[in-house]
């Protein structure tokens, strides 16, 4: 129990730190979801807003930690959801309040918009072969499994604990052998689809004072990062699926020792990489989307904007334009792989 409480304390602290630095991740020209002058955060008013927000986040996080540690002795079952809920709701309330306070310093979004007449503006970075690479990796693994079908043991491990000891098994059936690759196929479909939407279905904002080159660099960085994740997942799925051939029915595996650290290291490295590119932009006009279309500085709803994804104003990356009906289809597709993987994993374990 003590270890579990310590873990939850750590997680709440990590979440608090994340909310603490969230305003730093936004692109220059926006603060708390409001368009402001680029260096506003360094002005007296901007610094005061940031200080107030951070003070509130610190109080929220410490309160949540206190609730967990005190509540666990009274009612352990309820304490965890209450603590986590307090942290999340409290942090979002802090953001919304800061967003409302920042409105007084809003900078007008330019009404003039420019667009290039170059029809080939949206070339796929790295080309089509680079895009289908992750699928080729999975196909290669599938072909390897098919060619070595008889070398696969009747029962083999497909899941391991952190110490590398097997705790999940499958049998030599179509589902058992190829199910993992199917999971890889869906996760690849999701990541490559989002990567392509960033290239083809987002706006190249261009207006007076905008940093067109910087915005394109950020898009390219997002695309390559998504593709890097896709390649990494494909290789992982390929290695895990072919494990029965190169390791037989061995009870232990070195895979978790390699994979688990990557799960922590890669997201941190990715965030640092994207923040650096995002913050290096020199535009003076924010992202060009109207402030009025941002609810709480978090959710974008603009039925007149055909963009499917727009840059987030809270944190880093991209968010859906909820005013575009295709966004809802995309949400459904995003959940689909999770449901399918869950079902397939259940079938494989049986």
């Amino acid at each position: 129990m003590t270890l579990l409480v310590a873990l939850w304390n750590l997680m709440l602290l990590a979440a608090g730190i994340l909310f603490f630095v969230t305003p730093e991740m936004s692109r220059p020209g926006t603060l708390f979801g409001i368009t402001v002058v680029p260096d506003f955060a360094f002005t007296e008013e901007g610094s005061a807003l940031l200080r107030r927000y951070r003070r509130r986040i610190a109080v929220t996080t410490l309160t949540a930690i206190l609730v967990i540690n005190v509540g666990v002795t009274i009612s352990p079952g309820f304490t965890l959801p209450i603590g986590v809920g307090l942290e999340l709701v409290g942090a979002i309330a802090c953001w919304v309040r800061a967003s409302k306070e920042t409105r007084a310093f809003a900078h007008a979004v330019p009404s003039v918009r420019l667009a290039s007449l170059n029809p080939n503006l949206r070339a796929l970075p790295g080309g089509w072969l680079f895009l289908i690479g992750p699928y080729l990796v999975l196909a290669l693994a599938g072909w390897f499994l098919y060619s070595n079908w008889h070398a696969i043991p009747e029962r083999f491990p497909i899941h391991w604990g952190p110490d590398g000891t097997a705790n999940g098994w499958a049998h030599r059936t179509i589902f058992g052998v190829f199910g993992i690759l199917l999971g890889g196929l869906f996760s690849n479909a999701l990541t490559t689809m989002i990567a392509c939407i960033v290239v083809f279905r987002t706006r190249n904002f261009s207006g007076p004072g905008s940093d067109v080159a910087g915005d394109r660099a950020f898009k390219r960085a997002t695309y390559f990062l998504m593709m890097f994740i896709s390649y990494l997942m494909s290789i992982t799925f390929a290695v895990v699926s072919t494990h029965p051939i190169w390791a037989g029915s061995s009870q232990t595996s070195p895979l978790p020792i390699v994979i688990v650290p990557l799960v922590f290291v890669i997201p941190v490295a990715a965030v640092i990489y994207l923040v650096r590119i995002s913050r290096s932009r020199k535009g003076s006009t924010g992202d060009g989307t109207p402030d009025a279309c941002w609810r709480w500085g978090m959710f974008y709803y603009n039925p007149d904007d055909p963009s499917l994804l727009v840059e987030k104003r809270m944190g880093l990356g991209w968010t859906l334009n909820f005013g575009n009906r295709w966004s809802w289809a995309l949400i459904a597709v995003m959940f689909l792989p999770g449901v399918i993987i869950f079902v397939v994993a259940g079938l494989v374990k049986q």
């Binding site: 009404s111 420019l114 667009a115 290039s116 170059n118 904007d305």
Partner: protein, 134 residues
Amino acid sequence: MSKDLTIAIDVNSPVPVYRQVVDAVRHLLVDGELRPGDILPPVRQLALDLGVHFNTVAQSYRVLSEEGWLDLKRRRGAMVLDRSVPDRPDRDRQERGLQRLREVIAQLQAEGIPARSIAGRLRRLADGIEGGKS
């Protein structure tokens, strides 16, 4: 297309966005910046970059197509056609065009631009037209 051409719209202008797109593209066509055989971006791409509805840009392309500037039969984008200027334009059409010009001048005056400044700019434009450049 020899260079990267751009068009601009003002979403706060009283002129409808589709009309602004038509005017901006037509200006490039008349100036010869856009030449026969050039391909314009697909409707979706231009609409995305301007942050306006697809139908707005589609309507602009249709107007330019009806004027004989664009071929929209292509699957991707729109191709600029070799459009010969009519020798003797329709009298009503000519009158409508001049009426629009008068309305634009009245609007500029209403926005506070001095008459002398407008007249000077019109004179320079007229010189350009006579010299073969608008």
